[in-house]
């Protein structure tokens, strides 16, 4: 199959939906303000990005700044979650006494939805970047932690035996055997975590922050600018998709040794 027909396969459904939507919203069944046509959304979005006719009003030309402030919050919270989740996960998975002392607390905190921390986050951190970063951290931390623990616990005991037969110290076992053996699981956690991270930045921005894509989204809702709401939603989707793609790339570069040994590597 050629690359061209393949990309057609992928694009057919979204293109059909866009076309149907355009026709529907121009048909006048609903007032146009309630469901702006894709062409209108695209126009507003373009102005939001490039600022040529102020159709996005005060937001005109401010897209990059908005996207960047959201992305930085995601990056900060996610980085903290990744480092601490992997480190704590390895400790819990490896040492029984750490598991016994820390795990019960974690299992009690885990079911609490991260959004329910919003009031406390605002009280503790005020209205700015910090509560958003805190929420992103909460959302990404648990999936990364749980997957790391799972990866460590399911590491092949025989590999650990083989390495200790070659004189590995405990620290070397963790670094040269347990960590690489857990990497496929860790990456699974990192990918779930990045989704949670975007979700929580946007939530935090709607409530506790005065900038970013989530703030524009909520603010536009108050001003009945549903074209901007849709443009913000599309922006968030696109950025989430891009960051997940970046992690996927990093994953396949790191786990290249799996090629040929897993279903994932099958041509599809």
């Amino acid at each position: 199959m050629t690359a061209l027909t393949k990309s057609w396969e992928r694009l057919a459904v979204p293109l059909f939906i866009l076309a149907a939507w355009e026709v529907f919203s121009r048909s006048g069944v609903l007032p146009e303000a309630l469901l702006p046509a894709p062409s209108v959304v695209l126009h507003t979005w373009a102005d939001w990005i490039a600022g040529f006719d102020e159709s996005s009003q005060a937001n005109s030309g401010r897209w990059l700044a908005d996207a960047l402030s959201s992305a930085l919050r995601v990056a900060a919270g996610y980085a903290i979650a990744a480092v601490s989740g992997v480190a704590l996960g390895i400790a819990i998975g490896w040492w029984r006494w750490v598991e016994r002392t820390v795990e019960p607390t974690i299992q009690m905190l885990r079911p609490v939805p991260p959004v329910s921390w919003i009031p406390l986050a605002i009280i503790w951190f005020g209205i700015a970047n910090k509560p958003a970063i805190f929420l992103v951290f909460l959302g990404a931390f648990f999936p990364i932690l749980m997957n790391t623990i799972h990866g460590v616990k399911t590491a092949d005991r025989n590999l650990i035996r083989a390495a200790s037969m070659m004189g590995a110290t405990e620290q070397q076992l963790l670094r040269h055997v347990v960590f690489p053996a857990a990497l496929p699981s860790i990456f699974a956690g990192l990918r779930i975590g990045i989704g949670a991270a975007w979700m929580l930045t946007v939530t935090a921005e709607m409530v506790a922050v005065k900038s970013g894509l989530g703030y524009v989204l909520w603010d536009s809702y108050y001003f009945l600018r549903y074209d901007l709401v849709l443009a913000a939603m599309a922006s968030i989707g696109l950025l989430g998709f891009a960051t997940d793609g970046a992690i996927k790339l990093l994953m396949s570069a790191t786990l290249h040794w799996q090629h040929g040994s897993t279903l994932q590597s099958r041509e599809g």
Partner: protein
Amino acid sequence: MASIDLQNITKIYRDAKRKRDLLAIDDVSLSVQPNEFLCLLGSSGCGKSTLLNMIAGFEKPTTGTVTVGGKPVGGPGADRGMVFQQANLMPWLPVWENVAFHLRLKGWRKADRRRAAQEYIDMVGLRGFENHYPAELSGGMSQRVGIARALLLNPQVILMDEPFAALDAQTKMDMQEELVAIWQKQRCTVVFVTHSVDEALVLGTRVAVMTSRPGRIRELIDLDLPRPRDITSPRFNDHKRHILNLIREEGMQQRQGVAA
């Protein structure tokens, strides 16, 4: 040159689930001379791996002492090389990194590790596969990597737990020949676990036939057969008949023991 000494070894496994103790090894004393090739032969479950794992340091004897080169065994370590039934290669490392894993632990630079690995890769006939990953190797090739990895430690003692059990007949024969050649060249002491009488007779300078559970040494048999071993020679077959008889008796006794 290191000798191995097992003195009055017993091993009891605590079975917490069934609240019962299992006597796996019952008072085994055995000494292996430097440069000897000892084959541990016995039926499944008789405690061969248990005995080998105690020499390796993965298991502690319940009573008795294990010494290697005069020093008591405290745990696993690089003074003994171990080849497992499954090759147990790190799937994320290419062949040469697996072979040189010990040097990675010792903090050698990459170029030095690469150079050192080559000698052993050549020795086991894997030139050209240095950069393959374990997932891209056949079972026999993986097993060779495992052997090269153990040899790179330059150990005085090599412990092998049914390393060729999963291989086809032809590959097995090739590997046995290679192993004997390597052992003759490196002059190391080998303890080789197997449940194949032929394999024990092809490889060993001595065969220790074990009883069924609990494991004891039933008989130690010196093999003064010339190498390469001729599996059709009368003397080879005399030994084989004798050992098969021991095993048959052992099986009969066990069945009677169960019936009684």
